[in-house]
Symmetry: C2
Subunit: 373 residues, 2 copies
């Protein structure tokens, strides 16, 4: 997921997100601010009153009320919790300015809509505190979400006026007490066809100390109310592409665009570069002939470091073949097993600060041949 500040964080609050000056900070844990809470009490407070929509028959969270009435946005939005209350679905009409080449939605549009569905899900299920979609206890403990990885696959890009439905859900990552994941399924509402999937990894940090926090029982209890009880993965396939490790390509740079400069419009209120800009920067170093002949099928981004107004960034890319050594053998294996190796091209990416080479993002992309150029 391409959220700078997490799926559960208002994108306008720049302190949130993967804005870690030193990514090692998240490995040092600090519990000073953790206070004991009564889990069952918190869980009761967080429990939502579910109502059935007369129109759709779907379960809906009771919309947040302002002066006793649900907000106009809550009444008009085409989103609701699913029948079991464990995921959220929202319909979006692709807007005219959200399409680009081939009259299809851009990958940035898809990323934005995943973000919107995720924010609305959390805002509906929990609460917005000072712009943060977080739980009651997270607020008490000064905890926020930080995205560590995002992986999106798009099988068929929607076009202008297509209606897409995004289902969003989250759960803890295995038995981990530090990580959560958020998953998405994208469907074309007319054909009911799955046109994309996405997954993301999240950790919780203390908003002030910027240190990783274990998710304690109180928060886990709140979050569990709207989490699937057993693992439900958008990518259930064994050894799926969302899990692959990305190598560093410093020694094997094939294509590059150096000296990229953040624009005013790339920044959030904390003067940090927003996440969708990273996708654009990765595309900058892609060979133009590939962009003309192929379309992006899969993008994976590991978030390592924030980028600020005056940073200058180098975008580096190498083809899969160039990177073909023991490091990426496993990844290659995946592609040949699951993809169409004759039609798909695979690239590995690195965004780094021009000044000192510090990594901002590692990424990988898979491109399929366009049907019509």
């Amino acid at each position: 997921m391409l959220l700078k500040r997490g799926p559960f964080k208002s994108p306008s609050y720049a302190a949130f997100g993967y804005s870690l000056q030193n990514p090692r900070l998240i490995r040092r844990q600090n519990y000073n601010n953790i206070v004991s809470c009564d889990f069952s009490s918190q869980a009761r407070k967080a429990k939502l009153y579910l109502v059935k929509s007369e129109a759709t028959g779907e379960a809906r969270c009771k919309p947040k009320r302002v002066n006793g009435e649900p907000s106009l946005a809550d009444r008009l939005r085409l989103g609701s919790l699913t029948e079991d209350g464990l995921s959220y679905k929202e319909k979006f009409i692709v807007r005219c300015y959200e399409v680009g080449v081939n009259k299809t939605a851009t990958v940035q549009t898809v990323a934005n809509l995943l973000q919107e569905a995720c924010c609305n899900h959390f805002a509906l299920a929990f609460q917005i505190y000072d712009g943060f979609p977080i739980t009651h206890t997270m607020r008490k403990l000064n905890l926020i979400w930080v995205i560590a990885r995002m992986h999106i696959e798009i099988y068929k890009y929607p076009t202008w006026k297509d209606v897409v439905e995004i289902e969003s859900w989250y759960q803890s990552e295995g038995r981990s007490n530090t990580r959560y994941r958020g998953d998405w399924i994208l469907k074309n509402c007319v054909t009911d066809e799955v046109i994309g999937r996405g997954t993301s990894k999240w950790v919780m940090i203390n908003q002030e100390t910027r240190r990783l926090q274990k998710v304690n029982d109180d928060v886990r209890g709140e979050l569990a109310i709207h989490s699937p009880k057993t693992p439900r993965l958008a990518f259930p396939e064994e050894n799926n592409a969302s899990l692959k490790k990305m190598p560093k390509i410093n020694e094997r740079i094939q294509y590059s665009k150096l000296g990229l400069v953040p624009r005013q419009t790339d920044l959030d209120m904390n003067q940090h570069v927003n996440n969708v800009t990273y996708i654009g920067w990765i595309l900058e170093s892609m060979p133009s002939e590939i962009i003309r002949s192929h379309e992006l099928q899969t993008i994976t981004l590991d978030f390592r470091r924030e980028c600020q107004r005056n940073d200058i960034v180098d975008s580096l890319t190498s083809s899969h073949e160039m990177m073909m050594d023991d490091t990426v053998l496993e990844h290659h294996q995946y592609i040949t097993n699951n993809g169409s190796p004759n039609e798909c091209l695979e690239f590995v990416h690195l965004l780094r600060l021009s000044s000192n080479g510090y990594e901002i993002n590692r990424g990988s992309t898979v491109w399929r041949k366009k049907l019509h150029n």
Copy 2:
């Protein structure tokens, strides 16, 4: 309006818009492709069946039908023609990724929503042909819209989850047989407060020859069906800011950002830079202290030339004081008469090709002091 290809043009079709290699072309008129049409017949064909929405009581165009049914997007969209059929209103919920500094919508978001309302208006009232929202006769004559000027004023920026309503209408410009204008009013749906206004000027060109075309009676008849019968202006004030002439600032450059490069994500399918990018480029040369302390109140853009993938662009800005000479006296007069001169700052802008100095856009902006920094 910030449409590269006009309010009535699919933004994914790059041949449309102000993509004039030589802006003088629009002053040379070529009628070779104009054929005679029976006006009354065309008008009848274009006339729409209006129905009343049971829910809102508003007149609605009968949605375009696919296989006998209105499209899902037409059924779900919160937009309809007004009671008299002479304008279009659509509600939008501001999305989480559309807000920036101060948690308010960006000017780019506002520009995008104006474009979306305008496209949906025209698509509902007329038809989409190969991605162009144009009338039947325009299609026959191979005519498309080209934007010449856009002017937006934002009095109060909406925030995340605010619901805004945009009313969109168009009409011929005075007695001109070459120009049309599109106007907008933005309201906050909860308070019913007018939070912004916009206007734009359009001409019609032949899609192939790229030459200006007079709007003949057939096309005028089609367009008139959904145009106000008397002038209805978003800016009815005499000598209003949308009319001001913008001087060239070559000789009085105060602030600049040189060497701006289009990104892949700035381009449409014809490899032309999309219109919202121009706003961003103008902001690039604004002094950062002004961006921190002020917010954009008014932006005016004159579109002169398209910009392509390999162009390099200089963004030049001068404050009103720097430009204060006979050329801009009239403009200054407007500001002092109608604005709050002690709180607002005014700038003049130029985007030009680095290589040869050719003008891409002239612009002007007015900035008011932020209430909270």
